[in-house]
Assembly symmetry: C2
């Protein structure tokens, strides 16, 4: 199948919301660790499939967000999955380094335990070294 036909197949299965976006869950393909959730536009889906490197759409910056472009913490796409209703994507990826802008491996490092919200993971890299002030990359 050509790239264009392939793009059409997946894009037609995705129900983008009123803002033209769809939530995408990134999961480390081999360990099953849920790394993060972010948003994708049609263009970011197409680019991700073409390059094999995950490209989101940053709602705060209103622009394509090539994960790792600034930080070096790239996500390599292993497989893209679409849910039953077409309104959520699951990206099986290999994460270089850390997914979270706080320097933690994944973004879900706060858990409700005994009625309190506690940190269950510490940064493994210095976030300042990742971005020099940017909050995401």
């Amino acid at each position: 199948m050509t790239q264009d036909a392939s793009d059409t197949a997946v894009l037609s299965a995705i129900r983008f919301d009123a803002n033209g976006l769809v939530p995408a869950i990134a999961q480390q393909h081999d360990t099953g660790e849920v790394l993060m959730m972010a948003w994708m536009s049609r263009e970011s889906v197409t680019e991700t499939l073409a390059t094999g490197r995950v490209c989101y759409f940053s709602r705060s910056r209103n622009a394509l967000w090539r994960k790792g472009e600034t930080s070096g913490q790239t996500q390599h796409l292993k497989e893209l999955r679409v849910d039953c209703d077409g309104d959520t994507l699951l990206l099986l990826v290999h994460q270089d380094g850390v997914a979270c802008h706080t320097g933690r491996r994944n973004c879900f490092f706060r858990a409700m335990r005994d009625g309190a919200l506690v940190e269950i993971a510490a940064p493994v890299v210095d976030p300042a070294a990742l971005y020099g002030g940017h909050s995401h990359g």
Copy 2:
């Protein structure tokens, strides 16, 4: 910590969107399987923590959606996690039966392979037996 204090701790960490909702990813706690993504309101978070059974908010029905109430396919909460920005939840659950209204174990049963979107899992229960016509439950 009292239930009220516990609710306050987690609710204050969550950034609900303009519609008062936050996306919640359900992951089978022991296998790491990503089951589904749905939305929660403040009330559904509070109820979920109080009962230990996952309660979403159905955008199509504009009402609380007690997962499994109709279908019997209940999700039992093992742990609730909040991401770095507070705008996504990760629910570690034990899923009774199947998560997907199509009768599949999880909702992400369509994958891009060789440029085509293909089904990678078959229903394990008859969806008609789950709902008698409802699309979710």
